[in-house]
Amino acid sequence: MSEQNPQQGTETLTLAKAITRALHDEMAANRKVLALGEDIGKLGGVYRVTEGLQKTFGPTRIMDTPLGEAGIIGTSIGMALRGYRPVPEIQFDGFVFPGFNQITSQLAKMHGRTHGQYQVSVTVRIPYGGMIGSVEHHSESPEALFTHTPGLRVVTPSSPHDAYWMLRKAIAHPDPVIYFEPKRRYWMKGEVNFEDTDFDPFTAQVVREGDDLTIATYGPLVPVALAAAQAAVEDGQSIEVIDLRSLSPLDIPTIEASIQKTGRLVVAHEAPTFGGIGSDIAAAITERCFYHLEAPVIRVGGYHMPYPVSRIEEEYVPGIDRLLEAVDRSLAY
């Protein structure tokens, strides 16, 4: 773990280490930033994302808490009311629910309820998504439950650079942010440019340009969409890929601009399609781009069933082939 701060230039890091570095740099920059969660101190978290930080910042800024998600979130709210910027870690997606009440009915509403008197700058880190071969409750994608809650911001990076800046900006932001970490991409490497200080975490980004169709996705599926777009070149198809990055706020204008160009949209995520963020994007684009659309918006996502056992998870999580099948369906109109 490097000690230089402020960081300069670029460096190649894994997504996990980019998060570690972001937390480190934001803690170094602001004495009131602290992290808390189960096993995040000495162990460095089950994914080692907070590894080494307790050595640097001590046990009162990297706190190993007792087991209790409501306790972790609820006390984070109290510390934020006192002026701190807590970064609680939820160990796995499926374990956020004991703390869900505190997130949705308290954290999300505190600014409004207090007539704007109090900001609660809490950034909840949640590793999410499947394809790590794990057991029940370790591979879920509950993001729509949070995007449906006014008062929360929900972001998810797909690259080390975004992971770094998104977390720094989330921690420094006055609103509560749910920061979903695509756990199967923790070990993916990429360049982080430490000088990109104007980074806006609440915008979508066109990560590949194309003319025939747009795939909008986020987090763990971005590399899948890029690979699908690459494979489609062989069939003479030119696919644009949008990394949404922020799920609330949702950067509709960026998707809209893309659809005005391509006329076709496939939205993909690992979460179940029914009631998912993809449904919302489909509806919004239909409402705004009806006359530009050459085909209905097609959603690709998880099935309406609890996340399956890991030996068959490949059938649940969209891969390149399911994306290409949706692309073909759209282009057939």
Binding site: T60, P66, A70, L81, R82, G83, Q106, G112
Partner: protein, 391 residues
């Protein structure tokens, strides 16, 4: 499945602290009388005034609700001593997280009756300046605030650490009070009901508070009912007993006795301020009326409830004490009646005239910073309304 109705407590029951009995007669207590002795006759009369205002205000709000002027009212009748005396024992800079019934706490803290009304009128969510009074907003989700209080108290410990490093006192998120002027080290007090202690949040609060030695007072008003569920079903043991299980002190106090409540709270806050961590106080009090205006206690409460509890009324008790010790006479109580009547008159006209803030204010406050979907909704809202104006 049968529920436990007459629990026994083989592990022993904490002493029930009482300094003034039901007839308003005082008995000295070796550990607690010293704290009660801090209160002068004027202090007691002042507390009586706030308790009387709390009750009168409560009655007025109940009738306003019956007249359709309020969405709901949560009466505090019977709990005035527990609320006013505990709040009085706190320092001005102690931060309070109330439950939804703690009007006496708020009034003691200098919040006006008017400022308590918007939540119940349906015209606002917070009517007072939380930072000025160091009193947080009400929340209607049971027990959630108990964790916030614990976290806030953990924050005070972190403040102390920063102050030790930098020499600079911390103000948190802009408390109105100046920390360099604090005569007492600030701490936190949180209020909840006996039923709320069943919620997991309270358990986690107590574990976290103990783990981090947080300077927080858990003040549980055991009014014997959680809507229709009697205390005998809530718990086999007095709530105060549970503190030992978390590793801190639990006190059981006669919650209708202003002297005992004040003394126990002062004792607890002294202990908390010395860094000994949290304390739990269970104030045994009684809910004389319904739970809320939506409730009907005749459906579940024994018929002799009134006969049992009305004589224990904290107002009657303090009145008997003030009279028997010659500190107050008819003239005093007449003055109080006139004062509370006057206060309440202005509350009524305030409520009737009060209007909610504009719809857009609520869009403004959903987030601290601009948000795409809020802006989209705002544009729609404006265009929709403009459409009517053109017609």
């Amino acid at each position: 499945m049968s529920q436990t109705q007459n629990p026994t407590n083989p592990w022993g029951t904490p002493e029930r602290i009482q300094l003034m009995n039901e007839a308003g007669e005082t008995t000295p207590h070796t550990s607690f009388s010293a704290y009660a002795d801090e209160l002068t006759g004027e202090d007691l009369k002042d507390m009586y005034r706030t308790m009387a205002l709390t009750r009168r205000f409560c009655d007025e709000m109940t009738s306003l609700q019956r007249q359709g002027q309020l969405a709901l009212w949560v009466p505090s009748r019977g709990q005035e001593a527990a609320q006013v005396a505990s709040a009085r024992a706190l320092a001005a800079n102690d931060y309070i997280f109330p439950s939804y019934r703690d009007h006496g706490v708020l009034l003691e803290r200098g919040i006006t009756p008017e400022e308590i009304t918007p939540l119940f009128r349906g015209s606002g969510t917070l009517g007072w300046d939380a930072k000025k009074h160091n009193v947080h907003s009400y929340t209607l989700v049971l027990a959630a605030q108990v964790l916030h209080a614990t976290g806030y108290a953990m924050g005070l410990n972190l403040d102390a650490e920063i102050e030790a490093e930098t020499g600079e006192a911390q103000t948190g998120q802009g408390q109105a009070t100046d920390p360099t002027q604090d005569p007492d080290k600030p701490a936190v007090a949180v209020y909840c009901g006996d039923g709320s202690t069943t919620e997991g949040d309270v358990h986690e609060s107590m574990v976290f508070a103990a783990s981090y030695n947080a300077p927080v007072l858990f003040f549980v008003q055991n009014n014997h009912w959680a809507i229709s569920v009697p205390f005998s079903v809530q718990s086999r043991v007095p709530i105060s007993t549970r503190a030992a299980g978390y590793g801190f002190e639990g006190l059981r106090v006669d919650g209708n006795d202003v002297l005992a409540v004040y003394a126990a709270t002062r004792y607890a806050m002294d202990k908390i301020r010395t860094g000994e961590g949290p304390v739990l106080i269970e104030a045994e009090t009684y809910r004389l009326g319904p739970h809320t205006t939506a409730d009907d206690p005749t459906k579940y409460r024994p018929e002799d409830h009134g006969a049992t509890y009305e004589p224990l009324d904290p107002m009657l008790r303090l009145e008997a004490y003030l009279r028997s010790t010659g500190q107050a006479d008819d003239a005093f109580f007449d003055d109080i009646a006139a004062y509370t009547k006057e206060q309440v008159k202005s509350v009524r006209s305030y409520v009737l005239a009060s209007e909610p803030e504009t719809f857009e204010t609520y869009l403004d406050r959903a987030y601290a910073a601009p948000h795409q979907q809020v802006e989209d909704d705002r544009s729609f809202y404006r265009a929709y309304n403009d459409g009517f104006e053109e017609d």
